[in-house]
Subunit: 402 residues, 2 copies
């Protein structure tokens, strides 16, 4: 019978967020009375903006009419949506033809790896979103080099000592640490990539949470980045499309392989061959998001989540915890103060009835931390705050019991 892709054996047996969900379910089954609050998986909770909802409904309605029915569209997405992203998100600095609409950043991160030759050396921020590593392992990557991101280096890795790699995954605002790279830091990254001929895959899925105007929302705000960087982005966290599924990836025209051929052209071929476009209903929702009304409504929801983050952060800080992120990102990165992060996960689940994400699930340098997600109702955030107040006052963060 057919042989297994031997790389599967190199993956941990369970995907982090499924593991958390399984543990949460098991606890809920055994303790049906517990009022669990999930601060774990970074999943949006607020309803879609009104104007976006209406656009989705109208799109669905049109599909039921003879005049409005639409079958296949271009695999790369509606031209109108590519144009609008070019205009609104990139102020036309990126051309529509360089923007490829997808069913989400995660799916594109998987597909992107098919562009490259075998035996790659890659570098990833550590801690980081597990998909960069898992996807690379499945495609037979040769070497994975962690770029430690810790409070000591301000969550920006030292590039000086980095051995030669082909590809760097970089996420800002960062999942899980909530850190946002400054303009100077991204300049350093792009400079390094140009000098050493390294490709950057820049994950900007949380860019819409950036509130401080001086912080870059796209790698292409850095001069020359279009020669070394692919950027992936998403409507998921921006407008609550985690379930609706819509994202995009930028592959600039000026980006070339070592043999001088165009990466953009292969990506176009790949999406045409192995993808059939994002759902047209979702794409109409994306168009509505980029209208003035949609942008304003989405911004209100983003601010709401950031207020949640601020409430949690202040609460933890007032209890003496070490907390990072949460100012321009929906995630807080909290020190476990010496406790193992899965143990802390289990204990907070059992004693505080709060679900968090253990830092070690994001990499070796994530151990000793846990991630809190600000995606929740205000009511739940205030209950969580109260549980923290009562419990952390009586106990150190290590003991945290009821």
């Amino acid at each position: 019978m057919i042989k297994r892709n031997s790389n599967f054996a190199k993956l941990s047996s369970r995907y982090l967020f499924r593991e958390i969900e399984n543990r949460r379910r098991e606890f809920a089954r055994n303790h049906p009375e517990a009022q669990l609050i999930s601060l774990g998986i970074g999943d949006t909770t607020e309803p879609l903006p009104h104007s976006v909802t209406e656009a989705l409904k109208a799109a669905a309605h049109r599909l039921g009419t003879r005049e409005g029915y639409l079958g296949y569209s271009q695999e790369q997405g509606f031209q109108s949506l590519r144009k609008k992203i070019s205009d609104i998100v990139y102020q036309t600095k990126i051309q529509p033809e360089e923007i490829f609409i997808s069913d989400g950043a995660k799916c594109d991160i998987g597909r992107l790896q098919l562009l490259f030759g075998e035996g790659l050396s890659i570098a990833v921020q550590d801690p980081s979103y597990p998909v960069y590593i898992d996807g690379s392992i499945l495609q037979g990557v040769k070497e994975i080099i962690p770029l430690p991101c810790t409070p000591e280096n301000g969550f920006f890795p030292s590039l000086n000592s980095l051995p030669r790699v082909d590809l760097i995954y970089f996420c800002s605002p960062n999942n899980p640490t909530g850190a946002v790279a400054t303009h100077a830091q991204l300049e350093e990254l792009v400079h390094y990539a140009k000098k050493n001929q390294v490709l950057i895959i820049f994950d900007a899925a949380y860019a819409s949470f950036i509130r401080e105007a001086h912080l870059p929302r796209s790698i292409y705000e850095i001069k020359g980045a279009e020669e070394v960087a692919i950027e992936t982005n998403s409507f998921s966290k921006w407008v609550g499309f985690t379930g609706v599924r819509l994202g995009w990836t930028v592959v600039p025209e000026r980006l070339k392989y070592s043999d001088g051929t165009s990466i953009r052209s292969d990506w176009e071929r790949l999406t045409t061959t192995l993808f059939n476009g994002a759902s047209n209903i979702a794409q109409y929702g994306g168009l509505a998001t980029l209208e003035i009304e949609g942008l304003q409504e989405a911004d209100k929801i983003l601010s709401f989540y950031l207020e949640n983050a601020a409430i949690l952060k202040e609460s933890l800080l007032s209890q003496g915890c070490k907390v990072y992120g949460g100012d321009n990102a929906p995630y807080l990165w909290v020190s476990c103060e010496g406790t193992n992060s899965w143990e802390l996960f289990q204990s907070w689940l059992e004693n505080l009835h709060l679900v968090v994400t253990p830092g070690s699930g994001f990499g070796t340098y994530g151990e000793g931390f846990f991630r809190l997600s600000a995606f929740n109702s205000r009511e739940n955030i205030l209950i969580a705050k109260e549980r923290l107040r009562v419990n952390l006052k009586m106990n150190s963060i290590q003991n945290y019991g009821y």
Copy 2:
């Protein structure tokens, strides 16, 4: 700079259907007066069934409400949808846990190849849907063996002389020939696969067009197939979801790799890692399709397309053409009577203003044929019929000019 996946160079530079679309556009630009009718790309044209449209609208509406909002769901799809497909499509012979909801068969065909080890030998029907080969090439397949399907063998390949392969792609009802494998033929295929330990990827995306009750709609109607076959299927052609994007893949529990480990379990890991589920709105549409009303409405549309196929087929037969398929499939496979199929494409485009798909785009054994798609309005089909009547009467099929 990063190295190119050298397999890209092995692909033809353009995906077949993009090439056709480009040629059609160019002609339309230069001849704005021409009333082009596309019998080329197999894209649905009828509006969605009413009950399905209403379900999509209701789903979109709920996403805008606090009670109805839904973020991430399980990557494998709604449990309710998996259960319903198990009940309705497979009469519970396939379990919900073996059914994985996708954003379409094409995307899954791409992802499936990541399950297997390198250096595969694969066999594909020739002619066949180009994605099997293109996707395999990108994943570094070692050897591709064509299985000639011609009028002479009733479009069912001879398996006796087939050298050892790891994987057979098999599509029934077939795209492009419109041929449907009989129960006895699929038994032969499954028997061969079991005896020689070959995996089958069975593409059943057109199964809903089968009208003759004795013809199998799923490979799992054959005893023992669950030990050797993966089946992929889609709502695209069934209910007009080509743009909405929804499909599924069955990976049976009993299917194992050569090392005895479970393929289903790796597929679950892969979908979890590199996929984030089909759009939830589309999934609600899938649920509505599987209700009695949805099934009946969809069936009416399928019958409508099959009537289109019958009109075209009769028209061509009455002109003395050799025509295959179209009885339990939306495609007709027509002999070019000695003409090169791209030349015929160009000539029909220029002279009949009809867009067809040249057979050579589907493989070596597709040369000498072209595919006609029955996805169109009745009005267009009747105009096409009239153009054929007037022109083919005066000319042989080779000359076909106005």
